[in-house]
């Protein structure tokens, strides 16, 4: 086994108030290891708004600007403009929003910023529901999920919005998916995005949420890996909205990913078959767009 190569630099402070086993914290930790200290983070309302620290504390060693829920894209654009005016064009501006703040309420703000091709990096850390307010469904919540707003037999029967396609449709310079289970791949993508200066860039980061998903906290990384290995969350990159590169190919059935999770426990074998069909269909569509064969997902070490 080749040990994982992850930069030593640390911009996440100890003592933050994320839940035990929080995937979104791991995501931020890797993101800043990749981006380095010359970064300003814009955080709208979301779990990370809390994890970043209550005044007068901060859990990051880079500046953070807290923003209103719907405004990550707009606020980041403004910070960019201000930095440019101050003669600090090299500083990376990273909007860091949840799935609710990205797929739902912040979508117009994000869309505008991308359409204007603002020089920002927009990251959605995706825990697939409004977690900070107690697990309400978002348009990122996948088919089959129980949340507090899709409870019991009312489990969610619509599919997860394909945010990557939304961004691709904007012909964004760079969009990629990343996972906390694959730190080297994730760090590479963050650096690639950082270095694509002058354009809007988007990263969709899978961040498991043991609290909201009903899974033991020790499985955070394992689940993120299973999401990739089952093609539930394929790792890929899109340049200029048209040029697709697949980084991985799953080798396991979706059951392996679904069965450890409380939020899917109610699903019947037939429901799981339905989900398998949807995942297979999405995978086929994605395969058709990509050039060249994917690498196998498990071969990371």
């Amino acid at each position: 086994m080749r040990p994982l190569q992850v930069p030593e630099e640390e911009y996440l402070r100890r003592g933050h108030v994320g839940c035990a086993g929080c995937g979104a914290v791991i995501a931020m930790r890797f993101a800043l290891k990749a981006l380095g200290p010359d970064t300003v983070v814009v955080i709208p309302a979301c779990c990370w708004g809390v994890i970043a620290g209550a005044y007068p504390q901060s859990s990051l060693d880079v500046p953070i600007l807290h923003a209103a829920f719907a405004t990550a894209g707009a606020t980041a654009s403004g910070v960019r403009a201000a930095l440019d005016m101050r003669g600090e064009p090299d500083t990376t501006v990273m909007a860091w929003a949840g799935d609710g703040g990205t797929f739902d309420i912040g979508l117009q703000s994000l869309s505008g910023a991308v359409e204007r091709d603002e020089d920002i990096l927009y990251v959605c850390y995706d825990n697939e529901a409004y977690m900070n307010t107690g697990v309400q469904r978002s348009s990122s919540t996948p088919y089959g999920t129980r949340t507090t707003t899709t409870p019991r037999e009312g489990w969610k029967r619509t599919r997860k919005k394909n945010i990557m396609e939304t961004l691709a449709a904007h012909r964004i310079a760079y969009a990629a998916t990343a996972s906390i289970a694959y730190p080297e791949d994730m760090i590479r993508k963050f650096r690639k995005a950082r270095d694509l200066k002058g354009h809007a860039r988007f990263l969709h980061v899978f961040a498991s949420c043991p609290t909201g998903w009903g899974v033991p906290s020790e499985l955070t990384v394992k689940l993120a890996r299973l999401a990739v290995r089952t093609n539930v969350f394929p790792l890929y990159e899109v340049e200029n909205g048209v040029s697709y590169t697949l980084n991985t190919e799953g080798d396991l059935p979706v059951r392996a990913y679904l069965s450890p999770q409380g939020r899917f426990r109610h699903l019947s074998p037939e429901d799981i078959q339905d989900i398998q069909r949807m995942v297979d269909e999405d995978w086929r569509l994605l395969r058709a767009k990509a050039q060249g064969p994917p690498q196998r997902a498990r071969l990371m070490a």
Partner: protein, 578 residues
């Protein structure tokens, strides 16, 4: 308008700005389970009679830290170059990697390291100095006696070894054919042992009646004189047969140049294979005559395969009744046998198949039926408070404690088991003289590798390995997400034609890169190899690197990610005391 003016005059927007970090929040108080680095026992090391720290040896070799790897072996086994050639590799049979692709080539790596140690002149020096000088007598310079002397030497004792022959090595010198172990390698490994100040007195046959006098002159005595009585067939005409081990010894002394014609070798153990394979090399056409079936043979499968490849023939289910001379030939009369269920010992049983007989005409006849202790050297059998039977040794208390070891007491007769016996003797004797007779069991218990019975010198001396959890890591406890299938690397090996042509060593040795590559196939089950997954994935930045890895309990929330993401089960979770 006013506001606008005010803002333009005073461009600084008033925002609450944090100035402190979260470091002061002791989130460790949230925890109800506690992860901790908990090194465990790898199955290979637990299966190694010599108790070698194989997982660690592979880790060091994989890093190219060859000298450290050699020193790790030499703490537990004085014969890596020898065992790297002749060991029956119980370790590889237990290796967890077998459940994934193929076991790690542990013996090949050991041979590489053993040869490198000889080439570089690497050796161990004594690890402690007893308060009063101690002196042991060792009877027999075979693998057990030399191991006992070596380990006592590491413990600061001085030793004198009495050897009847003119050369050291015992069965390693006279009983193992040169194509498996060259004389040169053995001599150099013995020379390294002698660097501890051990003296061998050659040509000194010790008789049981000499023991009393020897016990007066030394602080302890180790008897490792081996099994000198070969088991007989007890059939008419047996005198026409040569005893297998004697024959191997004659070959190694250079007394046999060639053997021609058909040769029958009676037996199914490893010695029978050695004799038959040696006969091939001397020009004969050997047939192994065995009363059970091939699958019942006590010889190791690998040895059987090699023998058959070299042209040895095999007759199964025939039992010799008599041997008659017929001119230059010998006629062997054989009773045909048939399988007859399984005996109480779990071994297949055979019974005569009526009156069915065969006769076999051969030019020469050999027996290889094993050996037993000469009656005068049989270890004491009585029950007594002053006598301990401990698996690899039997020890009798007295002013100078007396140990019987090696093949006299070992259940499995192998070089590695002999090393185990010598080590157990050394640890028991050292304990007996330093702490007292009644402390032996406890002291050996402390030195146990995993659940035992293998013992570790490192643990005996209170090294880091003594703290290792004795639970053996199973394949299911490893995290395979971090491994990919990799082909086992094989050293060069002679073709059957090359092998038949002479007695040169069959197996080649890894090149450096091959040894490193093969060693990195090892999962390092149960031990921290500083891959840092625990540190990388911790959401609390609560794992610190230093020498080893440390969990900062002030911050650890007990999520357990480190425990799951450790590929090799070197961490555990325990409930927090409330």
């Amino acid at each position: 308008m006013e506001i606008h003016t005010a803002l333009s005059k005073q461009p600084a927007v008033l925002l609450a700005c944090s100035t402190l970090s979260t470091d002061t929040n002791m989130t460790g108080t949230w925890r109800f389970v506690r992860p901790f680095h908990d090194e465990k026992t790898a199955p290979c090391g637990a299966a190694c009679p010599a108790g070698e720290d194989i997982a660690r040896i592979q880790m060091l070799t994989g890093r190219g830290a060859f000298r450290d790897a050699v020193e790790t072996i030499l703490l537990e086994n004085p014969f890596p170059a020898t065992c790297g050639r002749v060991c029956f590799q119980f370790c590889e049979g237990a290796c967890n990697r077998a459940s994934f692709d193929d076991p790690v080539g542990i013996r090949y790596v050991e041979r590489f390291l053993g040869d490198m140690a000889l080439a570089e002149g690497w050796a161990r020096v004594p690890l402690k100095e007893p308060e009063t000088p101690r002196k042991a007598a060792v009877i027999g310079a075979g693998p057990a006696g030399l191991s006992a002397a070596y380990f006592l030497g590491l413990l600061g004792w001085s030793c004198e070894v009495f050897e009847a022959a003119r050369e050291p090595g015992g069965l390693m010198r006279w009983g193992i054919p040169a194509y498996r172990l060259s004389k040169d390698v053995l001599q150099r490994e013995v020379a390294r042992i002698l660097r501890l100040g051990i003296v061998i007195k050659y040509g000194r046959t010790v008789r049981p009646q000499d023991l009393a006098r020897i016990r007066e002159e030394y602080d302890a005595v180790f008897v490792g004189c081996g099994l000198s009585r070969s088991i007989r067939l007890q059939i008419p005409g047996e005198d026409l047969a040569l005893e297998g081990l004697d024959f191997l010894g004659r070959i190694r002394r250079g007394e046999v140049d060639a053997v021609s014609g058909t040769a029958a070798v009676i037996g199914g153990g490893n010695t029978a294979m050695d004799v038959a394979r040696s006969l091939v090399r001397l020009g004969a056409e050997p047939i192994i005559v065995y009363r059970r079936r091939r699958e019942d043979m006590p010889a190791f499968e690998h040895e059987i395969i090699m023998a058959l490849e070299e042209g040895v023939r095999l007759m199964e289910l025939v039992s010799p009744l008599k041997a008659n001379r017929d001119g230059e030939d010998i006629i062997l009369t054989l009773q045909e046998m048939r399988p007859a269920g399984v005996g109480p010992d779990g071994r297949a049983r055979v019974a005569p198949d009526g009156e069915r007989r065969q006769s076999l005409r051969v030019r020469s006849l050999f027996t290889a039926l094993g050996s037993s202790a000469a009656p005068e050297w049989a270890p004491p059998a009585e029950q007594s408070q002053q006598l301990l039977r401990l698996g690899h040794i039997t020890i009798r208390n007295g002013p100078a404690p007396l140990v019987f070891g090696g093949d006299l007491t070992n259940e499995t007769q192998s070089v590695t088991d002999a090393v185990a016996s010598g080590k157990m003797a050394a640890l028991a004797l050292d304990t007996c003289l330093e702490e007292g007779w009644e402390r032996i069991i406890q002291s050996l218990g402390r030195a146990r590798v995993g659940p035992g019975p293998a013992l570790s010198m490192e643990s005996y001396l209170g090294g880091a390995r003594a703290d290792r959890n004795r639970t053996v890591v199973s394949f299911e406890q490893l995290n395979m997400d971090y491994f990919q299938p990799l082909q086992r690397i094989l050293p060069t090996i002679q073709s059957p034609e090359e092998r038949r042509a002479g007695f040169s060593e069959i197996e080649g040795v890894y090149k450096k890169e091959e040894a490193r590559a093969e060693a990195t196939r090892c999962f390092n089950c149960g031990i921290c190899n500083e891959c840092d997954n625990c540190r990388i994935f911790c959401p609390e930045v609560a794992v610190e690197a230093g020498s080893g890895r440390r969990i900062l309990l002030d911050y650890c929330k007990g999520c357990g990610i480190c425990v799951v993401e450790c590929p090799r089960n070197a961490l555990s979770l325990e409930e927090e005391a409330s």
